[in-house]
Amino acid sequence: MPNAQVNAPPRCFQDLILTLSRYWASRGCAILQPYDMEVGAGTFHPATTLRSLGAKPWAAAYVQPSRRPKDGRYGENPNRLQHYYQYQVILKPSPPDLQERYLGSLRAIGLDPSEHDVRFVEDDWESPTLGAWGLGWEVWCDGMEVSQYTYFQQVGGHDCRPVSGELTYGLERLAMYVFGVENVYDLPFNSPDSPVPLKYGDVFLQTEREYSRWNFEVADTEMLFQHFLDAEAECGRILAASLEEGSIVMAHPAYDQCIKASHVFNLLDARGVISVTERQAYIARVRALAKACADAYLRTPQGADEAV
């Protein structure tokens, strides 16, 4: 019964990822790989940020390692990590049956909505650094938030037409719930029956400790401030060069610099060297980059509205 094999609920962290990928692949999504830069959330992947702009349809799913330096706890907190995984699905335009598709994905990973209290609770999403916002919900399963579900209204200051539907699963938390584990480091990473059974802690505990120390105590803030300026300047330079008549518009390389600036800002924030007032100013500077990149993307053949 090969079919039963395929439909069996996942038994470990990587199964969960594979199950979601199989599920969304079978519903027409391109399964992409993580973006090869440090980002704070799956939304930052150009496959979401840039692809949600313009008129061209799009459907993709991917895992995105995400870094939030401030959330590091030296491996001592059972729920908090400075590096974790998000599973991201982006569908443009948002299909009419997106909720049913989403509930189907929960069923696939073993959370049957006829046994669990799955609830859509109002949550408006906003990313001040991306100049983006949308309406939707956080999805609760038996009182626990397992996903973020958003209809994008604006990205980079531009109205999204058509509207993309975005689903974000917090994989560790979801896995802890599905497998009944209280401590993230106890999650089975590969199959417990493997010759070398590995837990999440076997894979990530050491790095959580190391990065927590670096993020909070050691990172060279002067150098990081300089990196921020460099990324900001390079982003501007790339976009200026993109204005030359008849030249290739370089929205993606410019956006890489925006991502870089955003991550450097997060590191500086974790180091506690950014005051409350400065914080707003830095966020506004990253947002200005994101907007400029969105403007540029809309001038690329890929981002241009077909109507134009």
Binding site: S94, Q99, E115, R119, F120, G134, L135, G143, Q153
Partner: protein, 746 residues
């Protein structure tokens, strides 16, 4: 008569928006139908998380026929006029009616509009209502341009007699319409065909959807009560949460869970807030006990396992939440409140006014003065003011801002602070709203008033006053809070004087921020400004000016004089703001006559609101006595004469009258009466015996009446006339000392 069923099926509507949405749907449909000449007999709007619906009964099948008449020219009018009328009406001459009128015959254009099918009207109305629906926040989805609160999935619009209702084709972008709805997402996922409002409600009930929000709410609370009956636990009532949960479920199934004993020792407000805010659980406890030992979570589902898996999930999530809360609690306890004070120096109060730490210093100064006026223990007041904001930097309040003050009290108690200090820390946030009580103790009242007055003076200093409907810092609420705290317990203090001095502290904070931003050059100026403002605050103007003269370019002296003037202007303006709130409070909440309120407040009593209230009470009593009406009439007469003569000559008659010029005994008698009453009034007012002053006034009534009867004010002799006007002027001034009689209505 035909009925209407309208259902707008969508993805989950936020619970907090449903009530307004029902009202808006009802109101908009009613208005649109009325505009089309249609009225229902009765209608009701419904909402569940996934649908907004309206059932309207007894609508006419078609709109009434309408006749439009227009009067035209007379039959014998010039041809051009008649042709013009025909053009403008689009009729021919033989289509006009001729009707007699008093001067002959007149043309009338009569257009009869036949009635129109209601279904046809609905076809236009429903899309219009959908497209203009006032959601507080709406969105687009897919490739469409329609806006709704969340994606609109389908529309039912059925109209007709019971059992024979027809689908009204309502075209709204590509949203499907018909007679199909869907029941509970899990228990009845298939399509359901409905034939009308009653059928709709019944079929939904069978499909596990309790449509009527009131019924659903009752179903929820009944179910909870039934399940609690055997548990030995009681629920902490929570209206807002009940309302919210009703908007989150279509078929409520409350489950009772247990709070792990290891968390039951947390303060009950922490448990309750954490469970309510994060999980939407109700709190349970044993009757008579404070600690919370259980919860109710309302699922939207009745699973085969009876809810075991869900409940295990609920309890598991709660453990994680409460571990966080306990971590905060223990962490906070390990750091005594006063050792947190330094952290307040790093928290911005307002970008232009510096840190919370500076604010605490200002609070202590102001609370000290208020405490003295209120007769509170100065040590308690000072300690409470010092610690009042310390919990803002605790982990718990960081997580649950609504626990500010509550946690401060807990932490102060745990640190062994005086119980009165602990109480004042919590109470100084009161009143939180119009329904909340004011602080009970004098010490708490002092900190509470100081907290709000500092806020007002600060924002007045940087000119961030409320405008129109914008009041982002809650300054109106702050002013009303002060008034209530002082009036409800007769706490007396001179707000204007306090505000006038407190301004210097606020300005000091602003200068500190502004000059610090200017680097080394600013530092010198900053230190000098601070010195000048400190002297001004102490009331030593001379020393302030001497300090200002140390400034190299002498501009600080000009600035310092400006501050002095601003302190007066600002406190005066602020009193105007208080007067507006106080007028409304006394008139609308306390039921005083509006002229009594004006009579009292025109004398400047908003600066001492408790006094204003006492005066208003006494003035009201006074006005009930017959003496007062006569006195008032005599006063008005005197005031009218004076006003007229003052205007005529544009001089005033404020100089004292000359007794040598009195011709008539009534003049002398009035003069003597005024002397006696003046002495009595001054004595009475000195002792704040407002009633005594008013009673003394009544002695003027008789001599005044005699004066007006026997004496001609406007004598031919200018000297006599002037003298008599001066006598009246003196009386007017005397009476105005007690109350603004001009404001009183006879």
């Amino acid at each position: 008569m035909p009925d209407l069923l309208l259902e707008l099926l969508s993805e989950e509507i936020p619970a907090r928006m449903q009530k307004r949405a029902r009202e808006d749907l009802h109101r908009l449909m009613e208005a649109e139908l009325k505009a089309a000449g249609l009225e229902w007999r009765v209608a009701r709007a419904f909402s569940t998380p996934r649908r907004l619906a309206l059932a309207a009964f007894g609508l006419p099948a078609e709109t009434a026929a309408q006749t439009e008449e227009r009067k035209g020219p007379r039959v014998d009018a010039p041809e051009a006029a008649i042709e013009g009328f025909l053009r403008s009406t689009g009729l021919t001459l033989d289509e006009l009616e001729v009707r007699p009128d008093d001067r002959g015959a007149v043309y009338f254009a009569v257009k009869r509009k036949p009635g129109r099918a209601t279904a046809e009207a609905l076809q236009e109305i429903v899309p219009r209502v959908i497209q203009s629906f006032p959601w507080p926040k709406s969105m687009r989805w897919g490739s469409g341009t329609l806006r709704w609160v969340r994606p609109l999935r389908s529309i039912i619009c059925l109209f007709g007699e019971k059992g024979a209702a027809q689908v009204v084709p309502v075209e709204v972008e590509n949203v499907p319409y018909g007679r199909t709805t869907y029941g509970h997402r899990v228990h009845a996922p298939g399509p359901i065909e409905v034939s009308g409002p009653e059928d709709y409600v019944e079929k939904l009930a069978r499909a596990f959807v309790v449509l009527d929000q009131d019924a659903r709410r009752k179903y929820l609370t009944d179910q909870i009560a039934a399940k609690l009956a055997s548990s030995g636990l009681e629920m902490l009532p929570d209206e807002a949460l009940t309302e919210e949960v009703t908007g989150l479920v279509e078929w409520p199934n409350p489950l009772i869970g247990r709070v792990d004993p290891e968390f039951q020792e947390l303060p009950p407000e922490v448990l309750q807030t954490s469970m309510r805010e994060h999980q939407k659980y109700f709190s349970l406890r044993k009757p008579g006990e404070e600690k919370i030992s259980g919860f109710v979570a309302a699922a939207n589902l009745r699973p085969q396992d009876g809810g075991a898996k869900m409940l295990a999930g609920y309890e598991r999530v709660l453990r994680a939440r409460l571990s966080d809360a306990r971590f905060f609690w223990e962490n906070d306890l390990a750091t005594p409140l006063d050792s947190r004070l330094d952290r307040l120096n790093h928290i911005v109060f307002h970008a232009r006014l510096g840190a919370q730490g500076d604010r605490v210093a200002r609070l202590r100064a102001l609370a000290g003065e208020l405490g003295e006026a209120f007769g509170a223990d100065p040590e308690i007041v000072d300690r409470a003011a010092l610690l009042a904001k310390a919990d803002l930097v605790s982990d718990m309040v960081g997580e649950f801002p609504e626990l500010q003050g509550r946690m401060g009290r807990r932490y102060a108690e745990a640190a062994g602070e005086d119980p009165q200090v602990a109480e004042a820390i919590e109470e100084h946030y009161r009143p939180v709203g119009a329904q909340d009580r004011t602080p009970a103790s004098a010490a708490a009242a002092a900190v509470a008033v100081a907290d709000r007055l500092d806020l007002l003076v600060c924002f007045w200093t940087i000119d961030e006053k409320p405008t129109g409907s914008k009041d982002p810092f809650g300054l109106r609420r702050a002013a009303v809070g002060i008034l209530r705290i002082m009036m409800e317990n007769a706490r007396r203090a001179d707000l204007e004087e306090l505000a006038e001095r407190h301004y210097f502290l606020a300005e000091r904070a602003r200068q500190h921020v502004e000059q610090s931003e200017r680097g080394a050059e600013g530092a010198v100026r900053r230190n000098l400004s601070v010195r000048v403002l400190d002297r001004l605050y102490e009331g030593d103007e001379a020393a302030a000016m001497t300090a200002a003269d140390l400034d190299r370019d002498k501009s600080l002296g000009v600035l310092a004089r400006g501050w002095k003037e601003k302190s007066l202007a600002l406190s005066h303006d602020l009193m105007g703001f208080f007067t507006d709130r106080l007028t409304a409070l006394m008139r609308d909440e306390m039921g005083f006559r509006h002229d009594v309120v004006s009579a009292v407040l025109n004398q400047g009593s908003a600066r001492d609101p408790a006094l204003a209230m006492i005066q208003a009470r006494m003035l009201t009593e006074f006005l009930l006595q017959s003496e007062s009406q006569n006195l008032l009439a005599a006063y008005k007469r005197a005031a009218n004469i004076l006003r007229a003569e003052e205007r005529k000559e544009s001089v005033d008659f404020s100089r004292h009258p000359d007794p040598a010029l009195y011709q008539h005994p009534a003049e002398k008698a009035l003069h003597e009466a005024a002397n006696i009453v003046e002495a009595q009034t001054q004595l009475a007012l000195k002792g704040e015996d407002f009633q005594g002053a008013l009673m003394a006034m009544t002695r003027l009534r008789e001599p005044l009446d005699d004066f007006f009867r026997d004496v001609t004010v406007n004598s031919d002799d200018p000297a006599l006339r002037r003298n008599r006007l001066r006598l009246l002027s003196r009386l007017r001034a005397l009476m105005l000392e007690a109350a603004d009689f001009d404001a009183l209505e006879g």
